[in-house]
């Protein structure tokens, strides 16, 4: 079942790598977002995907049923999502200021200054 998701991860990583290697600062950030998407999916896949009901303890019971999904990757991905958001937000504002003060979105031109 995971084969298709494995390919998705590969494509997301490839896209991320390609964009990170560009000179434009906007593409760099797009690449960063791709990277974090791919990593989130990778972590998520680390759990078993055979059980699909949400990880809740049913009303009136004390222990979760055997069919619930693995909660740990979910918790990890949640944390990573939020931190990824923080980084993206900061990076976005940074390129905004970067463009304001340098007038370019090209890294190489910045270096020559």
């Amino acid at each position: 079942m995971e084969i298709i998701l494995a390919i998705v991860i590969g494509v997301l990583y490839a896209a991320g790598v390609y964009l990170l290697l560009r000179r434009s600062i906007v593409k760099l950030i797009l690449g960063l977002i791709f990277f974090s998407h791919a990593t989130n999916l990778l972590v998520f896949l680390a759990g078993s995907l055979s059980k699909v009901s949400p990880p809740f303890v049913q009303e009136g019971q004390k222990v979760a049923q055997a069919s619930v999904a693995d909660p740990l990757p979910q918790a990890l991905v949640l944390t990573s999502l939020v931190i990824g958001f923080g980084i993206t937000a900061f990076a976005l504002v940074l390129i905004y200021r970067f463009y304001q003060s340098s007038g370019t979105v090209d890294f190489d031109q910045l270096k020559e200054d």
Partner: protein, 771 residues
Amino acid sequence: MQLIRIVGVVFFLAFLTPFIDKRLGKISGYLYALLPALLFTLLLKQLPDIIDRHFIIQSIDWFPLLHVHLSFYLDGLSLLFALLITGMGTLVFIYSGYYMQHYPMRGRFYFYILLFMGAMLGLVLANNLITLFLFWEITSFSSFLLIGFNHERPEARAAALQALLITGFGGLAMLAGFVLLGNVAGSYELTDLLQDGAVVKGSKMYMPLVLLILAGAFTKSAQFPFHFWLPGAMEAPTPVSAYLHSATMVKAGIYLLARLQPILGGTDLWQFSLGLAGAMTMLVGAYFAFTQFDLKKILAYTTISALGMLVLLVGIGTELAITAMVIFLIVHSLYKGALFMIAGAIDKTVGTRDIRHLGGMWPVMPVAAVATFLTLFSMAGLPPFLGFIGKEVIYDAKVQAPEIAVYLAILAVAANIFMVAVAFLFGHGVFFGKKKDPPKIPREPAIPLLIGPVVLSVTSLFMGIYPAILTQPLVLPAIDAVNASPVKLHIQLWHGLNLVFLLSVITVTLGLTLFFFRKPATKALRKFNQRYFKIEFADLFRKLVESFLSFTKRHTEVVQHGYHRFYLMLIFIVSSLLVWYQIYHTRGWGFEANWEEVPFYLIGISLLIITAALGAVFTRSRLVAIILLGVIGYAMAFIFILYGAVDVAITLILVETLVLVLFVMVVYHLPSYMPKYSRPTSRIRDGIIALVFGGFMTALVLKAEFIKISPPISDYFLKEAFTKGHGRNIVNVILVDFRGLDTMGETVVLMIAAIGVFSLLKLKPKKKKEE
């Protein structure tokens, strides 16, 4: 007596200097002199015990597993050096009290020099080689600070750096030698090593370790070809030259050689290295001293010569040679310290120390003149001064040296002839001859400047007249320590008319002759130097350092080029190759793909993500890229829902929306299309790298699926979420309860990001100045 306290109290005072100097101002220098004076008397009290061979060994564990201890050892040799350090220290502090009183950074000066004194005491008292090395490095470092004390002068900075590089290089080599020595003998304690001399000499590592240790000793003691840093070090204020660069620090190398003589000495390698370096240094120093103009430079070169003589004597290694070494060590410290102080006093009162602008000053400064001449007589080796005894014993040692006696005697006589001539040149040039017009009107130097020279010259005189009472008790235990066996020796002023005395007479006569013909001689020699010694060692060294720096700069520019994408590229390529290799190596290429179980909606979603990703990569419109990014985010949220991750999906949708809004907001201010900056070839290259990287990630997921190392910890969460965490949403319980600290860290990260975003948006950039 706790030896560590002797060292510690000096360091302690060093760190108090900022407060003391602020309170006491100008007189602080005289007060600092009390400490070395106190230590001197304390150490002197130990002398009877040491003569009775009651040595002190004290040890505190420091890094016991590495055999590094704060251990200290007081025997004849370390006591002699400790007395020199504290005794000279007292006089130098009194001297500095006057000399440094108007310097702007006086407090800093005392800090450095106390730091040095503490380190130097630690060096000679240390019993552990690693501890010794530590103090050794502190002396190099404080010497660097003191040479560069007048840091506004570029010459001072260059000289300081040069001295630091050379002694630092030697120090590191020495550390390597110490480690080898410790490995061979199984201990870093000198007291243990002294028992293991035969083991060390028999080991295969003997030659490398000796050469490494000699590198340390030779650089520190300014042996040829490392001698040139010492004349450069004359940039330091004169109290520093008198203390570090004549009496104490440059003798650290001699101390080390003498200390290790019983362990490493006596072999051909040892005798040859020390003999060759010492003899060369002795001649080079004496020769160049003769042609200098600057009083301090003259003294620096004679110091080099004396250091060469000391190394040579250690190298000969006979009982007589060691005796000569110890006596000459004292002689030299006494006269050289005094002469440096006089040179500084003249510089201070008259305004120059160039011998061409000095002359005929004895009527105006009689006390200085008398002290100088007493000292110079000792330097020239005239009776009844200690210098005479020193020279006699040296000649004796050389005449009686095994095998090479004749050559050594000739060398020593040649060097001493120059010494005698230089001594007279110095004294005559300053105090007799025609009166010149120096920048300031000559008068007697202030009393604090003269205390040192007077005390030292008188000491030298009395030690010469009463050798049995004053000199012998000090010298014998030290000789004892170097020979590692008790010696019976009688030191006396008058040995009678023998070959040695004849050599002395020849030396003085020829020296005086050279002095009388000084004008043609120096003229001819200077011409000779200009023609044949055009290239100076210091210049060569500077060029070497410069070319090394430019080499590293070019080298760094290749590795640290400043293009982020090439750094990243390197990381991607290397990690791809490594992981691909590892996948192939452990799992092989084959894997089973089961397409039949894949539900059709998942294929649809996946295709959507893949298409959107490719579109986002290749589009030139920013807005399209952003929208496609949003598509990917929402599609991923759908996948999360499919596999039961409800909370993740909700959060992702929220985050994705926020990022979209932010992105659009930012991109609104940027140019609306994305220019193609890179060439097609580099895009193809990057595409290949991206595919290789993405490919291994896919392979990794497929291969990793089958790895089960230990039962997942999730089972614990599933079981205990409600009973312990009292929540029904297990993911929530993990986040706020089981892994609550992680979540707190996460919120902190978010807050920092928020502060960053806020300040970036809020703070206006400074307007560039109109050009």
